[in-house]
Symmetry: C2
Subunit: 331 residues, 2 copies
Amino acid sequence: MNARPTMQDVARIAGVSIKTVSRVVNQEPRVDPDTRARVQATIDDLGFRRNEQARSLRPGQSSSLIGLVSGDLGNPFYSAIARGIEEIAYEHGHLLLTASSEEQPERERQLIETYLQHNVAGLIVAPTLDAARTITPELLRGVPLVSVDRPVRDPDPFDTVLLDNRAGARRAVTQLIHDGHTRIAIIDGNPRVYTGQERTAGYLDALSEAGIAPQPNLMIHGHHGARHAEEATHALLSQEQRPSAIFATNNRIATGVIRALHARRRTLAVASFDDFEFADVINLPLTLVSYDAMDLGRAAAARLMQRIQGDGSPPQRLTQPVTLRVPGEQP
Amino acid sequence: MNARPTMQDVARIAGVSIKTVSRVVNQEPRVDPDTRARVQATIDDLGFRRNEQARSLRPGQSSSLIGLVSGDLGNPFYSAIARGIEEIAYEHGHLLLTASSEEQPERERQLIETYLQHNVAGLIVAPTLDAARTITPELLRGVPLVSVDRPVRDPDPFDTVLLDNRAGARRAVTQLIHDGHTRIAIIDGNPRVYTGQERTAGYLDALSEAGIAPQPNLMIHGHHGARHAEEATHALLSQEQRPSAIFATNNRIATGVIRALHARRRTLAVASFDDFEFADVINLPLTLVSYDAMDLGRAAAARLMQRIQGDGSPPQRLTQPVTLRVPGEQP
DNA sequence: TTGTACGCGTTATCAG
DNA sequence: CTGATAACGCGTACAA
């Protein structure tokens, strides 16, 4: 419809120069109150809005855009992170671009490049497995990046916000041991995934502390998604040395475990990283490692804002706390 | 670190004019192959990337940004929509901005304004209750908008993508009637919400078709969130004329209903709009209205892409299909 | 207090 | 086939 009005238009109609309009828009002090009022009236009248693209074209003016690359925004874990980032970004007057890498490093790199073409002020990335190859300081050209949930590589040249994966797993498994369990199985996903590695290490920590020797036939790896975990559970319960408890390293695996137990009408103690709704309605003794995924996003965004504002300190690794929850005990 | 190279830099180093670089970057045909190769080599060498902000500063060049305003990106329903939008946007070379209105009309309006300041090519909005007042064609100034999940107003001057709320509810309740139920309660949220209204209408359709008179004391409204629905369920089960089945108009309400039934160790038939994981593990006869939320996003984005490409046809109302699912019956 | 002139990085026009 | 030059909308020196 109507073309969008520019400062030029406002200036012409208000009978002032473009610079005066700029001063009013940017709330600069040295403007005559009458002039200011007249210009403001024209702005309101025309519905003028500053063109942010033109504004940030000037050097020094950063673009107030930040970019997020996660594995899959449809995954509630990542969308909670996005929501947390959004909240902090909004408070700082930034907008958030979101895109999903689908865990493909090449797509991830491409998305970052596209973001850079759009002059983002900073990036937050939940890195893919092979991000270490593709995400480099040369790619970024000085644009700050904060990784979340997993590090880009280890040690990481970027700021990183992680969960306390190892301690959380250790505490959950220790709780199972406290409850008298000694044959505790673990079902993990892709063994190359950082979080799974840490959580497996925590599982071993707990066993070791209790003087329990880990049993290879109780340690299942490479079972991605609920379906695989379901099969793995059936396999575990069919073998001779059956576990009395199962530790699932994430909630998709926990879902599979619960499905399998439900199908067999078996009651087993289940511990899991990640909390979930309906935990209270499931008739199983559960021990859940709980945390606020939004806080991960908030922390990552807060760190990024510091970087955007020029913080040049060495890369930080921030660890977010987790808590143990036993459903039935209301918080 | 290194400043970002510009076309100017490429031109200087390759020994050509800036326009020739532009031609190579934009794959325009009339360039000498040798020149093209030399320029391309320089581009690769310097890692040059076109500045999209500068590009879209020119009139006519739209910005390849689209904006999404939903109630809460942390809500899996909305994040699935966002994921669907993202997918289509990516295929068309567009990037997605996301932000949450928190169901506040003023914030929603502000976010739309901010998006417009950033020159978005189009908008997708899951409108708040009072969006009818704030989202107007004047606000948008010709930028296309597609509403999703709810219309902005009725009739809607914008394209809208909705679920088949009424038919879905009707089919679910009809299923309950088929199973022999006649005292079927409904628990709905805020009666001003469009989807709840439609689903309530579908509930009444089903009763009417079966010749069952609706009973006011079985129709509960205004119970937002799982907690309220839990209380409402307790109240329903404490009154004289108890229902033998409950229809929950969304999954948060269903969660409350299931919690209450679990607490009372009661088995009741439950129908609900919205599918959810764990439905298979809950020991209750469930009837779920299921759909793919990503498809909502895909449809909205596809429509928006048509508008961005200049489609000037009258506003469309697209209805996405829903299916009935009875957990236990594997798909 | 206000205005003029220039530059940001790109694309479009039009001449060579 | 190639290049000089003028926009695009805004902010910033520097003048007035």
